[in-house]
């Protein structure tokens, strides 16, 4: 309906392969970015940054990482929060041992550490797949949980077992207000999103998808399963690691090992199922969904109580569980490719408007 594609022809491959090939899409995305970067910082409240936007953005990044592994490469991971934990603790230790290091460098290093562990835990994927791999990743989750809970070195021998961080500083800029945190995270997430998009449209991304769609055929045309799978694990863990470090430093500030539990892992998985497997956009949608639903429910509580339904906070959290569970089943049955797919269909419909799809 809003698309006017006549005359938007491509005369080079570069134009043809650009990420946002349609002018109207470009306007929309650039508009959105401008809004997020220029308007939101002045208009958002602290609550909005702290409770909604910051967790949403960080969790989106982790979901993108998981999506690269599960949605693009077809390797299941039930323990992705473990990689976030690794990123968070790695960053913590780096900051402890190298104070004053630029936080961007810290983030990258934390990601790299996480990527290394990711490769390690990805090794079973060369042998096993599907359900079996799921269990292997669970092993990673529990083992990592245990390591950070018990090995004192990682928590710098803190007595409580938790760790706490000082405000992040870089280039002489102390990121301490929620708004500053938001802007910093937004930029990081944008850069990483662009890189993820580049990866999935490049040959590495195609080799992941080939492994996902038909692994024997992929091997026959010369894709090395080891390379494809381990790079997916590495990149995915890298993203999770960066997200974890930001989660720890910029969202939580101080945390305990339980912050990256199996439930976090499952939530990440739900994000990509609901948002859309094999879609970068889906990772954002799913993250928004999972972040917003509990908030929406808690906002709705007084309303429900006014209506005469007795719903307390415990009930609300149970309700949340039920809604998540039901939605997962719903999406797996009705639209296994998630909301992103619905979005794509809607977009296709708009492009064909007024004709039916």
């Amino acid at each position: 309906m809003f698309y006017r594609e006549n005359g938007q022809f491509k005369s080079t491959y570069r134009e043809d392969q650009q990420i946002l090939g349609i002018r109207q899409d470009r306007w929309f995305i650039f508009g959105l970015i401008a809004f997020a970067l220029l308007v939101v910082p002045y208009w958002g409240s602290d609550y909005m940054f702290r409770a909604i936007l910051i967790p949403f953005l960080i969790v989106s990044l982790a979901a993108i990482g998981l999506n690269l592994l599960v949605g693009y490469c077809g390797q299941i991971s039930l323990g992705h929060a473990a990689f976030m934990a690794i990123g968070a603790y790695a960053a913590y230790n780096i900051v402890v041992h190298f104070p004053g290091l630029n936080f961007i460098v810290v983030l990258v290093l934390a990601g790299l550490v996480s990527a290394l562990v990711g490769i390690l835990f990805g090794l079973p994927s060369l042998q096993i797949k599907g359900l079996y791999l799921g269990v292997a990743t669970l092993a990673a989750q529990f083992f990592v949980d245990w390591v950070f809970a018990r090995v004192k070195w990682f928590t710098n021998y803190s007595s409580s077992g938790g760790v706490s961080t000082a405000p992040v500083e870089m280039f002489g800029w102390t990121i301490d207000t929620p708004m500053e945190k938001y802007v910093f995270i937004l930029v990081v997430v944008m850069v990483f999103t662009l890189m993820a998009k580049n990866l999935v449209r490049g040959h590495i991304g195609r080799s992941w998808m080939a492994m996902r769609d038909m692994d024997v055929a992929a091997e026959v045309i010369g894709i090395r399963p080891m390379y494809a799978k381990l790079t997916a694990f590495a990149v995915s863990a890298f993203y999770a690691g960066v997200a974890g470090a930001m989660w720890g430093f910029l969202h939580l500030g101080s945390w305990e090992p339980a912050a990256f539990s199996i439930n976090f892992s499952l939530n990440l998985l739900f994000m990509i199922i609901i948002g859309g497997m094999g879609s970068i956009l889906g990772s954002f949608i799913g993250a928004a969904f999972i972040v917003l639903l509990p908030l929406a429910l808690s906002q709705a509580l007084p309303l429900l109580n006014n209506l005469g339904l007795k719903v307390d906070t415990a009930m609300a959290s149970h309700l949340e569980f039920m809604i998540f569970g039901a939605l997962i089943v719903f999406f797996l049955i009705v639209e296994p490719l998630g909301i992103a797919r619905l979005w794509a269909v809607a977009k296709e419909k708009l492009r064909l408007w007024p004709f039916p799809h």
């Binding site: 692994d215 149970h318 797996l332």
Partner: protein
């Protein structure tokens, strides 16, 4: 090949061997070791019970039922709360009679639940990728967790089977101080044994059981000779629900009925990997191995690790099962008793 047949024996041997060596290293008495082992075996029985549910469903429908733990919690909650409420509703005496009636009602509830899951979740997803099915059961897990706590409540509840919590000391003559053992655990073991025996008879002797086995062997073939898959699935899920109820009862009696039951039930995953996804004996033996291995490693390996790595406490049992399963997957993905056909790359 020789190694394959001896696999289970070797595995158990290794676990026990570690146990025998560890106390020697730690300078602990053998009686204590046996006590720990027995404790592990008792815990293992509980794992086995949950694992049984997994295996049943996987055998019949190829679904890796992540929700088995949630079913255990749901069943235990239903049982505990019904036993609590029934006296007030129908005037049945509290205690064992109420528990018995609650058990019957809970069985009915689990059967209805099984039918609903089959109808609403599994049937639309038939012939889907196993990973998609796994994720669907993840959804079911969340739903059941929420739903169960919404209707049954979310506090810690007790199931009183009328067995004294006092430990018994046996084999006093053989070891100094004897071996401490809980009656509850003994009862649990007996119940588990009865259940397994019952299942074995069900599978071997009844027509439904044979149909189930046929389905497990070959879906298409079973369908082509007129075995209705949908009904079989309902039955299997119902049986798994019943197994969950028993596990929930035994576990609930021991630990109290609470949310952590669902998480504990996750332990059954490594158990089935160890035992093989399709083997009932494998599930039982796997449960025992994990149970024993966990306890032994916690008690004997724990201090060693704590000393070596300056740990803030043990908790090895949190990951032992998974890491063992992971190693097993690398070496012998079909498990101890599983069929050779495996989802290998």
């Amino acid at each position: 090949m020789a190694t394959k047949k001896n696999g289970p024996v070797i595995a158990l041997g290794v676990v026990l061997g570690i146990g025998f060596v560890a106390p020697l290293l730690a300078g602990q008495p053998l009686g204590f070791f046996l006590e720990v082992t027995l404790g592990g075996l008792m815990a293992g029985v509980l794992y086995s019970l949950v694992a049984l549910g997994f295996v049943l469903i996987f055998k019949a429908s190829g679904v890796f039922n992540f929700a088995q733990g949630a079913m255990v919690l749901f069943a235990a909650l239903a049982l505990a709360r019904l036993a609590e409420w029934l006296p007030g509703w129908v005037g049945i005496p509290a205690g064992l009679p109420a528990l018995a009636l609650a058990f019957v009602l809970a069985t009915g509830i689990m059967i209805v639940l099984a039918m609903l899951i089959e109808r609403i979740v599994l049937r639309p997803l038939v012939a889907q990728d196993p990973v998609a099915l796994l994720m669907a059961t993840l959804g079911v897990t969340f739903f059941l967790d929420g739903f169960g706590q919404t209707i049954w409540g979310s506090d810690v509840y007790k199931i009183d089977m009328g067995i004294s919590k006092d430990p018994t000391i046996i084999l006093e003559s053989m070891f100094q101080g004897g071996i401490l053992i809980s009656k509850e655990d003994l009862v649990a073991t007996v119940i588990a044994a009865v259940l397994v025996l019952g299942l074995a008879i069900f599978f071997q002797k009844t027509a439904t059981g044979r149909a189930l086995r046929a389905v497990a062997d070959d879906h298409q073939a079973a369908q082509s000779i007129g075995i209705p898959l949908n009904r079989i699935w309902v039955i299997v899920w119902a049986v798994a629900g019943f197994v969950a109820l028993v596990a929930g009862m035994v576990w609930g009696a021991k630990l109290g009925v609470q949310f952590s039951l669902a998480q504990l039930a996750l332990k059954a995953l490594p158990v089935v990997i160890l035992g093989g996804f399709t083997s009932i004996p494998g599930a039982i033996l796997g449960g025992l191995i994990i149970g024993v291995g966990e306890k032994i490693s916690e008690v004997f390996l724990g201090p060693v690790l704590i000393k070596a790595f300056d740990l803030a406490g043990g908790g090895i049992e949190n990951w032992f099962a998974y890491v063992l399963a992971l190693l097993f997957l690398m070496v012998r993905p079909e498990g101890l008793f599983g069929e050779k056909h495996i989802d290998r790359v």
